[in-house]
């Protein structure tokens, strides 16, 4: 145990004293200031709409002020935090010749990789918690919205899911830093995978869906075809952790939404109903709706870490 704890605390200290972390943190703090400020201003301008919402505090996170809402911002750029914290964690030590020294100490070898992963997760948690606190402070000051207990719970769950989401990307970065000897290669590979999974998969999903079940915009299409098209699109885009994450937090931060599905799949009456009776979904129900996505997200994070773990444990370390 002392091995794990020692590696963990050294890594944590390294993260916090590195320029990389300072820059990352400054950037994120700035963006969250801006988004929450925008959201706050937006809310002030729509006071009557605000009166109707039961959860004004959550709207701070889910309302797009200028460009992106806080939640969208985490979905898009959160992975970068994970990548930046992990892309050189093992191969830098290898290049510096400190890895062989580390594994020839009387500790279990997995203490090295577990310590590094956990230190990354701790750093991610600290970053996210402080962003949420910043925005909350803003919310209190700017619009005078005091969070209800339920809103605090929802924020807490949002934080947990986000930590898992970003930890998945930390796991990917660590995996690449184990498999690639060169730091530049692992950095490039992880960014490439991030761009591919986050942006191209959704595009690809459209292409696949439209080839398999083409929907002609000009004519009235068969309902069955539309259904098929949307289903395929949904299935394919689930390969993207970003989509998974967006789905997983959908009803958590936005209780007015009753489903993670797109409106196309609802009948006209359902749509009317869902826009008429604006009652938020209770927390328990919201959780049930997103549970499959949350589990899938946790699963891919753990699988990714397990692969890194296995490779690292079986790898021969000569330098």
């Amino acid at each position: 145990m002392h091995g794990l704890y020692t590696v963990f605390s050294k890594e944590l200290r390294d993260h916090f004293s590195s320029y990389r972390f300072v820059i990352l943190f400054a950037l994120i703090a700035m963006v969250s200031f801006i988004t929450s400020y925008m959201a706050g201003v937006h809310m002030k301008g729509n006071l009557e709409a605000l009166a109707k919402t039961r959860f004004p505090f959550l709207t701070l996170f889910s309302t797009p002020g200028a460009v992106l809402s806080m939640v969208q911002f985490v979905a898009f750029f959160g992975p970068l935090i994970g990548l930046v914290l992990g892309f050189d964690s093992i191969n830098r030590e290898r290049a510096d010749g400190t890895l062989i020294k580390l594994v020839s100490q009387p500790i279990y070898r997995d203490a090295v990789i577990n310590g590094k992963f956990l230190a990354g997760v701790a750093t991610i948690s600290i970053i996210l918690v402080s962003i949420v606190l910043v925005i909350s402070g803003f919310g209190l000051a700017l619009v005078g919205a005091v969070p209800e207990i339920e809103e605090i719970w929802r924020l807490f769950i949002f934080l947990l899911i986000s930590i898992f989401y970003i930890s998945f990307w930390l796991g990917v970065a660590i995996l690449f830093s184990i498999s690639f000897k060169s730091i530049a290669t692992s950095a490039l590979a992880s960014v490439a995978l991030w761009i591919f999974l986050s942006f191209f998969v959704s595009l690809g999903a459209d292409v696949v869906a439209n080839t398999v079940a083409p929907v002609d915009k000009s004519r009235e299409a068969e309902p069955a075809t539309i259904m098929k098209n949307v289903r395929i699109k949904e299935m394919a885009s689930l390969c993207s952790p970003m989509v998974l994450y967006t789905d997983a937090i959908a009803t958590i931060v936005d209780p007015m939404r009753k489903t993670t599905r797109s409106f196309v799949l609802m009948g006209p009456m359902e749509q009317v109903l869902s826009s008429r009776f604006q009652n938020p979904l209770p927390l328990g129900q919201s959780l049930i709706v997103v549970l499959p996505y949350v589990i899938a997200l946790i699963a891919i994070t753990l699988i990714c870490f397990a692969i890194s773990y296995l490779i690292f444990m079986l790898q021969e370390i000569r330098t």
Partner: protein, 250 residues
């Protein structure tokens, strides 16, 4: 005699694909001796040391270090063995004391004991003045000595030193060799040292082993090897002459 063997391998083999790095190596190092491990580049010396530490999985054969199986009891073996790798690296943003503190905590040494040990070790390696200097600013020789201090902090019974004098100036190398000799003499540490500097090896080793292409071609004291190769005579042969003779025969 059995109990005397602190390191023993029988038919230890390591293959990388088609290439055999270590070929049925049988090696024996006795407690309290300095064993010189010689051989040309790529002979398999480093690979052997890694297998003895449980860092590399042997393709076959038997090995024991302090009576323990390095594969199964890797952590216990590492507690007893200090390994100084070929190109030892450091965290360049830590200073010497911090580096030693990190290694001490990894070894589970408690804080107050560690700081006393660190003080003594810095004295021993002659870096007392540079304890608060960043390791990134250390010279090659200082780093090498710091590396020795790092492996000494756990009070090892055995030291594996992989080319410890490489890249050191003649004076620095001499001082390091003297340090190794005194560790062996005063603390009764068994030393397995691999080196290309035959003169230095001859100076400190009780016995040497010559490894060529993964095979141990000779093992014994310098005198006994000389006798084996050149017969008895009144001429004193240097290790260099003996080594070259073996090398040409293979």
């Amino acid at each position: 005699m059995e109990a005397d063997k602190i390191i023993e391998t029988i038919n230890l083999t390591k293959t990388y694909g088609h290439q055999t790095a270590v070929n049925s190596l049988s090696l024996e190092v006795r407690e309290g001796e300095v064993f010189g491990f010689l051989g040309p580049n790529g002979a398999g010396k480093t690979t052997t040391l890694l297998m003895l530490l449980g860092l590399s999985r042997p393709s076959g054969g038997y090995s024991r270090v302090c009576g323990l199986d390095p594969l199964r009891m890797a952590r216990e073996v590492k507690r007893l063995v200090g390994y100084l790798p070929e190109n030892v690296g450091f965290y360049s943003d830590l200073n010497a004391v911090e580096s030693l503190e990190y290694v001490a905590t990894l070894n589970g040494i408690e804080r107050t004991e560690a700081s006393k040990k660190i003080h003594d070790l810095l004295e021993l390696i002659g870096l007392s003045q540079d304890g608060r200097k960043k390791v990134g600013a250390f010279s090659r020789g200082m780093k090498q000595r710091l590396g020795i201090a790092e492996v000494l902090i756990r009070d090892p019974k055995v030291l594996f030193l992989d080319e410890p004098t490489i890249g050191l100036d003649p004076d620095g190398a001499l001082r390091l060799i003297d340090l190794i000799q005194s560790l062996n003499r005063d603390r009764n540490i068994t030393v397995l040292v691999s080196s290309h500097n035959l003169y230095q090896v001859q100076k400190i080793s009780h016995r040497v082993g010559i490894m060529i292409d993964g095979k141990m071609v000779a093992e014994g004291s310098v005198e006994s090897l000389a006798e084996e190769k050149f017969g008895v005579g009144d001429k004193e042969y240097s290790l260099e002459e003996i080594y070259m003779k073996y090398f040409q025969e293979v």
